[in-house]
């Protein structure tokens, strides 16, 4: 997909969230149905099992997430919100599958980053993802007093489309077609970058992909973002933390 196609898909997803089904009593927006019927009942259990498991997340997370996903259809049917003969409810079903998938893969990624930061000896404070109130905290992780967010790449784009980038760093994961492998990437505010310091190559947003894995500085909104490989970011952090 091209950049514009991605953005259109994200817009469609947000529009679907505002769509609604109606029963005798009230209108239910798709996003409300998803939260009430799927996320609220299943999220805590899914995340607790991810956190408590010692298994490889790549193995256990799809199993746990799939077990929840298979309950979406029967659960919506029982609630009178899904009937294959009603076209709109097919869209609702698809929206709930997609939303759960984004949620489950997002927390799988987040837990994998927490594990990795711990194993790497980075000092950090993670938000409490076991409870919804903790999950809604302003930031996912704090390093050296800087607030950060951990997001899969589709979810990063989805939120960036409608929300300002107010954190000092973002950790995401991309697929590097040239090297044919997944790479974790950190996007930093200039404020945070000044703390850990180093040379950057000023470039356009689109060209960042050609600069990587060298550190790129790209314009975004009214400021600049620093694009650096996650491993290189960790190495700089560790050196900085050990020097303190």
């Amino acid at each position: 997909m091209w950049g514009r196609d991605w953005v259109i898909v994200l817009e469609v997803f947000d529009l679907l969230g505002e769509s609604y089904v109606q029963d005798e009593s009230r209108k239910h927006s798709f996003s409300t149905v998803y939260r009430e019927q799927i996320e609220h009942p299943f999220a805590d259990g899914y995340i607790a099992r991810l956190l408590d498991s010692e298994e490889d997340l790549e193995h256990i997370a799809p199993r746990l997430s799939g077990a929840v996903a298979r309950q979406i259809d029967p659960r919506l049917r029982r609630a009178g919100l899904y009937d294959p003969a009603q076209l709109i409810t097919l869209y609702l079903l698809a929206y709930c599958y997609y939303s759960w998938d984004i949620f489950a893969r997002g927390y799988q990624f987040e837990v994998s980053i927490f594990r990795d930061l711990t194993e790497s000896g980075i000092a950090y404070i993670a938000h409490d993802i076991r409870r919804r109130a903790g999950r809604l905290s302003r930031s996912d992780v704090v390093v050296m007093g800087y607030e950060g967010d951990i997001k899969t790449s589709p979810y990063f784009l989805q939120t960036t489309r409608t929300k300002a980038l107010t954190h000092d760093f973002y950790i995401t994961r991309l697929y590097d077609r040239r090297r044919r492998k997944r790479v974790r990437v950190a996007l930093l505010s200039e404020r945070f970058w000044r703390e850990i310091d180093g040379d950057t190559i000023a470039t356009t947003i689109e060209e960042a992909t050609n600069v990587f894995p060298r550190v790129a500085q790209i314009p975004f909104a009214d400021g600049r973002l620093i694009v650096i490989g996650y491993e290189a970011w960790k190495a700089r952090l560790l050196a900085r933390q050990e020097g303190e």
Binding site: G3, E58, L90, A94, K163, T166, Y175, R177, E206, F220
Partner: protein
């Protein structure tokens, strides 16, 4: 697997269920790096071009702003204040006209 069906209604219930099952079981998909930065550039470009129509009313002598229904969440209003990116507040006050 490519499908010639482009709309949800093109699928029979069994086919639709199979699509959803395949969706659950697919491998992790990360955005390709070039697509990711192209999308980020597109988001940035759209933001720069976006015009947000803020309406103001005088209610009981006070200026009160309202936003269109589909305003981006990066913009909010509170009474006579416009809040950008949840950080910057623009406070607009009305000065009485001075007669010459």
């Amino acid at each position: 697997m490519m499908s010639d069906k482009s709309m949800i209604e093109d699928y029979t219930p069994d086919e639709f269920e199979a699509v959803l099952n395949a969706f659950i079981e697919r491998e992790i998909e990360d955005a390709p790096m070039d697509d990711f930065f192209a999308a980020l550039a597109e988001i940035d470009r759209r933001r720069r071009q976006e015009v947000i129509q803020v309406q103001g009313q005088i209610i009981q002598g006070q200026l009160v702003f309202s936003l269109p229904r589909f305003a981006p969440p990066t913009v909010a209003v509170e009474g006579n204040q416009i809040i950008l990116d949840r950080i910057h507040r623009i406070v607009v006050t009305l000065e009485p006209t001075t007669s010459s």
